[in-house]
Symmetry: C2
Subunit: 455 residues, 2 copies
């Protein structure tokens, strides 16, 4: 292990400078004009994985963006780790809130700032470079496979089919994923719960054209007012989602489980201060960490309609729209929830407008068993590096494909992420601490060692 540490120490500046090259590629999967960047990014990663020591690496086409697959087989009888990550990133708007160009990474106060610095380029790069260090020092104790996709931020539409087609190639004992966060550097944690997601888009149409709000105001249903009312009705004053049947399949924790869950260190004052809010809000009867960890939620992700430019325009818009997503918990099924949402939204719309409801993407919630060998190996590796046994943590986020891995490939996933809340993923000025990057690099080879030894 000392050899690996020395190799990392001797090469760490190069690792960061290579990561900068990766971050410079604006691989935004949600925006079709970035299609060529996706290909470029995949080719960059495949080339780097071969340099790092892979026996082979390929950019494999899908109906969407390509998947980078690479592997190094040291011994067919050894344990196999399948590393999953994603090279696509979120859109950058509102761009004007970025202090520097989102695709020209900088280091400021020990943190790398760029879109994807954490999510997920920074995190997958730790795996690529830990792999390089183990290969270079001849200390790789497991077979390793890499599967890096370019569509995670849009719901991994092609990866399900990819997994079905390549079941054999992807055989492994565990899927290793760094695409999550820890509670803090002082309180390391392993994510063992992820919420599911049902992401919808709704459109309310009133008159067949924009109307003069003076001539028609008061006599015609205004789609923007109607949309506001419909959105408002989706959550009641106690923070409950009002879609009938929404809570039917929610797994309710026992009082003992809830007490254990609430033992995770959490400061409400620090939370409010960090977000600059006077008060939190959410479902009555649950704590803040329960509200994101074990309870489902409903949020408007975008809303638009009418005149939104400078000055005034006295118009009744013909249409108004919203993107609305629901985070789901075990055992909610996003397909059922999407249907319930659609039926409810149509039911509450008045006769004076027409509505369309589309399900844009979705994914199932996921739970990692804390007694599987990979979990225990990760627990030891993190304890070695951070000096503390990591807590099991339920994240509010979703990685829809993780539950897909289990159902298609029959392989459990281990989520050892080194992100922090302050990384501001999906937000302007996303960043990743160099210390997070280096601690991750140090932890990963130890995980391999303990996981291989546990066989």
């Amino acid at each position: 292990m000392d050899q690996v540490k020395h190799y990392v120490e001797a090469n760490k500046d190069r690792f960061v400078s290579e990561l900068f090259d990766l971050l410079r590629i604006p691989s935004i999967s949600a925006q079709s004009e970035h299609r060529p960047d996706m290909q470029r990014c995949a080719e960059f990663l495949a080339a780097k994985l071969v340099e790092a020591g892979a026996d082979r690496a390929e950019v494999m086409p899908t109906e969407g963006n390509p998947v980078v697959y690479a592997e190094k087989i040291i011994d067919p009888k050894a344990r196999t780790v399948l590393v999953y990550g994603h090279y696509d990133v979120m859109p950058v708007d509102p761009r004007e809130e970025w202090r520097t160009d989102p695709f020209e990474p900088v280091v400021e106060q020990g943190r790398i700032r760029a879109r994807g610095a954490d999510d997920d380029k920074g995190q997958l790069w730790m795996h690529a470079k830990a792999f390089e260090a183990m290969c270079a020092t001849d200390s790789l104790p497991c077979n390793v496979k890499f599967m890096l996709e370019g569509e995670e931020e849009i719901g991994s539409p092609s990866l399900y089919g990819f997994c079905r087609e390549h079941r054999k190639m992807l055989e492994a004992d565990v899927i290793l994923v760094s695409d999550t966060s820890m509670i803090s550097m002082d309180t390391p944690s392993i994510t063992c719960g992820l919420r599911g997601l049902a992401y919808m888009e709704v459109e309310v149409t009133g008159p067949n054209k924009d109307l003069h709000s003076g001539l028609f105001g008061g006599a015609v249903a205004n789609p923007a007012n109607v949309l506001a009312r419909l959105v408002a009705e989706l959550v009641d004053e106690r923070g409950h989602v009002t879609v009938p049947g929404f809570y039917d399949d929610v797994r309710v924790l026992t009082p003992v489980e809830r007490r254990a869950f609430n033992k995770a260190p959490f400061s409400l004052a620090a939370y409010k201060r960090a977000l600059d809010i006077r008060d939190v809000a959410g479902e009555e009867g649950f704590t803040t960490i329960e509200r994101t960890g074990i309870r489902p939620s409903l949020d408007v992700n975008g809303i638009w309609g009418g005149y939104t430019g400078e000055g005034t325009k006295t118009v009744i818009p013909s249409k108004a729209s919203a993107k609305i997503s629901m985070r789901l918990v075990p055992n909610q099924d996003y397909r059922k929830i999407s249907k319930l949402f659609e039926r409810h939204f149509r039911a509450i719309a008045p006769k004076s407008v027409r509505v369309t409801v589309k399900a844009l993407h979705g994914g199932m919630p996921y739970v990692t068993p804390t007694d599987m060998p990979a979990y225990r190996a990760a627990e030891r590796a993190i304890a070695d590096v951070f000096g503390k046994r990591p807590l099991p943590f339920y994240s509010g986020g979703s990685i829809p494909i993780i539950s897909g891995f289990e159902s298609i490939l029959g392989i459990k996933s281990l989520l050892i992420g080194f992100g922090l809340a302050e990384d501001a993923i999906h937000s302007p000025n996303e960043s990743y601490g160099l210390d997070q990057f280096y601690k991750g690099l140090e932890t990963i080879p130890l995980f391999y060692k303990y996981f291989a030894a546990g066989k």
Copy 2:
């Protein structure tokens, strides 16, 4: 009068082609990049009014866009008509819904299509050309003054001061305005009521940056959800505006007045068909024409927040905003209503967000007395041309400056507009019928004749 008619007949194609030159100037007052177009448009009009026969015409600077002033004094003892119009137009978005370029006028099926074709370039042009015809045939029976502003669509912020500064120059017996519509070509009408306007912009701010909707969803107030709820609360299920005190000053019509008001021809089926809506909506207990004519209303003119682009982004927006305007009726005061709105909006906002409320512009409601000489002259002129006595009509629209004219200049306004609902002012594909333009041209000189004779 025959001479005037012949002159118009001989020159009508040129009148339309000159109007096209005026319509080609994209004089959008709400968008500051069009500032140079405002100046250009004003200079065009001043030059044309001199050509038409004005003794003098000037482009008079204000703090905002210039005012075009022109006059022809035939006899200090004759009656004086002050023609008011505006050369600014509304923004054109959604631009993709225009069948042709909004600033490249075309005639299709007897209608001129362009932004401003009706509102108000087409309508003011009838006055300019009627004036030219009367001057050219030496039959102008009154003194005429023109005051054409470039800020009507943004609430005439500079014209109030302009009127205060130039009271003497603007002295007149009546202000003549064509910036309104008739019920139909078969049912001519004179607008004798205009609603007032209070136009607000609200912003709801939650966390200090956009947040990941998975990590924070359910635990933090989402400004877009909160905005939707606040907007929804502004109007109750019976169509009443919930702002306390909102209805305090509303003049309530007597049953006799309401019966007279509802005698105007109106087909609900045709109204719904024209707008392609299955049902109308509005304040309980009032008819559709009452809802826009004699009752106040509240509409969202624009709403925006979060991710509104292609695909999905799982974000809790830091801010969400709306433009909300209220149409007012006698004797509501827009300043009082703006204050009541602001107080109420702040009061209903939860502690988990911050709100800002700005009053963008406003104006008072206005009523024209139907027994004044100018009204009676207009009634006769319209009856001559349309073959029917015009009905007094209460429009839902607002021309805030009209009540300003009365309070500053002490002059009543006469609103003889030749627009129709199908002109779709403020909407894509705004148009103005050539028959409307020509009938207006024919009516105006008759009005001058009867008004002068009535002295």
